[in-house]
C-alpha cells in the first residue's frame, strides 16, 4: 500500500507538486494523468526517493524517509520514461542488474539472484532472449526487457513513468496487458500515462494532476469528463462510454 500525505516537491524554488494526498491499495493500478508539467513524474520520483520532498510517504506502512536506499529499492521498483539500456549488455546481464538491492555492496550475484532474473525473463516471455544484446532488440522487446529488470527487483510496488511512449498502438496494448497480468501476482502499480483512452481502459483509478495539485480523482468515467479535459488540458474532446469502457476522442475545433 502507498500513502502520500501532503506530498510537496520543490523544483528550483517552485512547487512541482503541491500538497498531494493519495492512497493506493495493495494490488491496485492507479494512473496519474495531467497536462505536461502537471507534476506526474515528480510524484513518481519522490515516491522512490529520487527527489527530496516535504510531507510523508508511507510504503507498505513504512516511512520512506526512514528507509535506507536499498530497503526502498526492495519495496518499490522504478522505470523512468527513457531508461538507459547500454546496447552491448545482454538481456540476461541487464535483468540481473535489477537484483542490485539484494546483493551485498561489493558482492556479486548468487544462484538465487540468477533464478529470480530467469523467472522475470520467463514472466515477460523473454526466456530465449537472455543472450541477445539490448542493442539488437526492437522497441517492444526492449520495453519488455526493461519491465523484466524491474520485475527482477521483486518489489511489491511497481512505478512506471510513461511505459508506452515510443511504442506503436499494438505494442502499447501488449505492454499494458503484461502489466495487468503482473498485477495478478499481487503487484501494486502506479504509472503516468499520456494516452487518456488507454489510461481509462487499464486503470482501476485515475488521478488528474494540474500544476502540481490533484484536481480530480476516481473511476475513469468520473475523471475523464468533457469539462475536466477542457479546463485542465485545454482540449476539446468527445467522451464515449459503452460496455467496452471509456474512450476519449479529440475533436477538431
Amino acid at each position: 500500500m502507498i500513502e502520500l500525505r501532503s506530498l510537496s516537491v520543490l523544483f528550483d524554488g517552485a512547487h512541482a507538486v503541491r500538497n498531494v494526498s493519495l492512497t493506493v491499495e495493495n494490488g491496485e493500478w492507479v494512473v496519474l494523468i495531467g497536462p505536461n508539467g502537471a507534476g506526474k513524474t515528480s510524484v513518481l520520483r519522490a515516491l522512490c526517493g529520487l527527489l527530496p520532498f516535504e510531507g510523508e510517504v508511507l510504503l507498505d506502512g513504512r516511512n520512506a524517509r526512514e528507509l535506507r536506499r536499498r530497503e526502498l529499492a526492495r519495496i518499490a521498483a522504478f522505470v523512468p520514461q527513457t531508461p538507459e539500456t547500454p546496447p552491448e549488455l545482454t538481456v540476461g546481464e541487464y535483468v540481473l542488474l535489477g537484483r542490485t538491492p539484494y546483493i551485498g555492496y561489493l558482492a556479486s550475484e548468487g544462484h538465487a539472484d540468477r533464478v529470480a532474473a530467469s523467472r522475470a525473463l520467463d514472466r515477460l516471455e523473454l526466456g530465449s532472449f537472455a543472450e541477445r544484446r539490448l542493442g539488437s532488440l526492437s522497441g517492444g522487446e526492449l520495453q519488455r526487457a526493461v519491465l523484466a529488470r524491474a520485475l527482477a527487483q521483486e518489489a511489491p510496488i511497481l512505478l512506471l513513468d510513461e511505459p508506452t511512449t515510443a511504442l506503436d498502438l499494438g505494442r502499447q496494448q501488449r505492454v499494458l496487458e503484461l502489466v495487468a497480468e503482473l498485477r495478478a501476482d499481487g503487484l501494486t502499480v502506479v504509472t503516468t500515462m499520456h494516452d487518456l483512452t488507454l489510461a481509462g481502459q487499464y486503470a482501476d483509478r485515475l488521478v488528474l494532476l494540474d500544476r502540481g495539485s490533484v484536481v480530480a480523482e476516481g473511476a475513469p468515467e468520473d475523471v475523464l469528463s468533457v469539462a475536466n479535459l477542457a479546463s485542465y488540458y485545454g482540449a476539446s474532446v468527445r467522451v464515449v462510454e459503452d460496455e467496452d469502457g471509456i474512450f476519449v476522442l479529440p475533436l477538431r475545433r
Partner: protein, 355 residues
C-alpha cells in the same frame, strides 16, 4: 516456454559475465611475456630461462643456482627489475583508473587526467624542480607532483559540487577543465621564469622510467594496490552506474557517495603513478577500449583486465622507448601514442567487422 521454464528451475541461464576464461589466460600470458621481455631485452641480453632460474634462486629453500654472472645479476635485479615493475604498476594503474573514470562519468573519452591530475602534478613537479634545486633535493619531485595532482582534483570536485555536480557529471568535467587550465597556466609561468630548469621540467613532463629504482616502487605500490583493489571491488557497481544516475539510485546505490569514492581511489592511484613516472598519456584510454572491443563492455571484465593488460602494455612500450634509439631513450609518452594509436585503429576496424 514450458521447456524454458523447466530448464530455469534446474539451472538458470542468466549469468553475469566476468572475465571469460580464455581471456584470463591470454591476459596473464601477455603480462608474463611482457615482464620477461622487459627483463631480458637491453644492451646485455638475458634469456628467459636465465631470468626464471635467477628469480627462483632468490626464493629460500628451493636450492636453485642462478646461471647468471654477478654483473648480469646486478643488471637484472638492480636496474631492469625495478624499471619493469614500476612500468607494470604505472601502466596497470593508468589503465584501470581510466576504465573507472569512463564508468563513473559514462564518457568513453574520460581518462584518468580528466579532473586535472596531470596539470596539478605538472605544477607540483615544476615547482619542485624550479625551486627545489636551492635545497639540492630531487626527492621532493614525486611528493610535490602527488600533492599537486591531489589538490587539483579536490579543487575540481569542490568547484563542481558547488556548481551542482551532485546531479550531473557535466559540471564536474567542466570544473576539471577549469582547474586544469588554471594550473597549466601557473605551471607555464613558473617554467618560463626559471629557464635554467626548463630541460628538467620538460623531461619530467614527457614521462619515463629512466631513473626508476626500488625506492620509487616502494613509494607508489601502496597507493596503487589499494586503489586498484577498491576499483576492482566496484566492478559490478560500475555496471549498475551504466544505467544512469536515476536508475542506479532507484536500485539502491548511493550514486553520489560511490562516485566520490571511485574518483578518490582512481585519483590517489593515478597521482602516485604520475609522481614516479611523469605524464604518460593514452594508456588510460587505449587499454580499456581495446578490452571493450575485444572482450566485453561489462566493467566486470574491463576493470580487472585493464589492470593486467595495462601493466603489460606499458612494460612493452618502455622496452621500445629504451631500445629503439639505443643508447638514447625516447620519451615513453611518444611511444605509447606512436605505437598505440595505429594499433588501436586496427582494433577499431577489425572489431567492427567482427560484430
Amino acid at each position: 516456454m514450458a521447456v524454458d521454464s523447466v530448464r530455469t528451475r534446474t539451472d538458470p541461464r542468466v549469468r553475469a559475465r566476468g572475465v571469460p576464461r580464455p581471456w584470463r589466460f591470454i591476459a596473464g600470458a601477455f603480462l608474463a611475456g611482457s615482464l620477461l621481455v622487459g627483463l631480458g631485452v637491453g644492451p646485455v641480453g638475458i634469456g628467459a630461462g636465465g631470468i626464471v632460474e635467477s628469480a627462483l634462486s632468490h626464493v629460500p629453500f628451493l636450492h636453485v643456482h642462478s646461471p647468471l654472472s654477478s654483473v648480469q645479476e646486478a643488471i637484472l635485479w638492480q636496474i631492469r627489475a625495478p624499471r619493469v615493475v614500476l612500468g607494470a604498476l604505472v601502466g596497470g594503474m593508468l589503465a584501470i583508473a581510466g576504465s573507472a573514470y569512463q564508468g563513473v562519468f559514462r564518457n568513453p573519452l574520460a581518462d584518468p587526467y580528466l579532473l586535472g591530475v596531470a596539470a596539478g602534478a605538472g605544477l607540483g613537479a615544476t615547482l619542485a624542480i624550479a625551486f627545489g634545486h636551492v635545497h639540492g633535493s630531487q626527492e621532493l619531485v614525486p611528493v610535490a607532483a602527488f600533492a599537486g595532482a591531489t589538490l587539483a582534483v579536490v579543487c575540481a570536485y569542490a568547484l563542481g559540487r558547488s556548481a551542482g555536480a551532485a546531479r550531473t557529471t557535466g559540471a564536474l568535467v567542466l570544473a576539471g577543465v577549469t582547474v586544469a587550465a588554471f594550473m597549466t597556466a601557473l605551471q607555464t609561468f613558473v617554467q618560463q621564469q626559471r629557464t635554467d630548469t626548463l630541460r628538467d621540467v620538460y623531461t619530467w613532463l614527457l614521462g619515463g622510467f629512466a631513473t626508476a629504482g626500488w625506492g620509487d616502487v616502494a613509494v607508489a605500490t601502496p597507493y596503487i594496490v589499494v586503489s586498484s583493489l577498491v576499483l576492482i571491488l566496484h566492478r559490478r557497481v560500475l555496471d549498475v552506474l551504466s544505467l544512469g544516475d536515476d536508475e542506479a539510485a532507484s536500485l539502491g546505490v548511493d550514486v553520489r557517495r560511490v562516485r566520490l569514492l571511485l574518483v578518490a581511489a582512481a585519483t590517489a592511484g593515478t597521482a602516485a603513478a604520475v609522481s614516479v613516472s611523469g605524464l604518460i598519456g593514452f594508456v588510460g584510454i587505449i587499454v580499456p577500449h581495446t578490452i571493450r572491443l575485444l572482450v566485453s563492455t561489462s566493467y566486470r571484465a574491463v576493470v580487472p583486465l585493464s589492470l593486467v593488460v595495462g601493466a603489460g602494455f606499458l612494460v612493452l612500450t618502455d622496452v621500445l622507448a629504451r631500445t629503439a634509439l639505443s643508447p638514447s631513450e625516447l620519451p615513453i609518452g611518444v611511444v605509447t601514442a606512436f605505437f598505440g594509436a595505429p594499433f588501436f585503429a586496427v582494433v577499431l576496424r577489425t572489431s567492427r567487422s567482427m560484430r
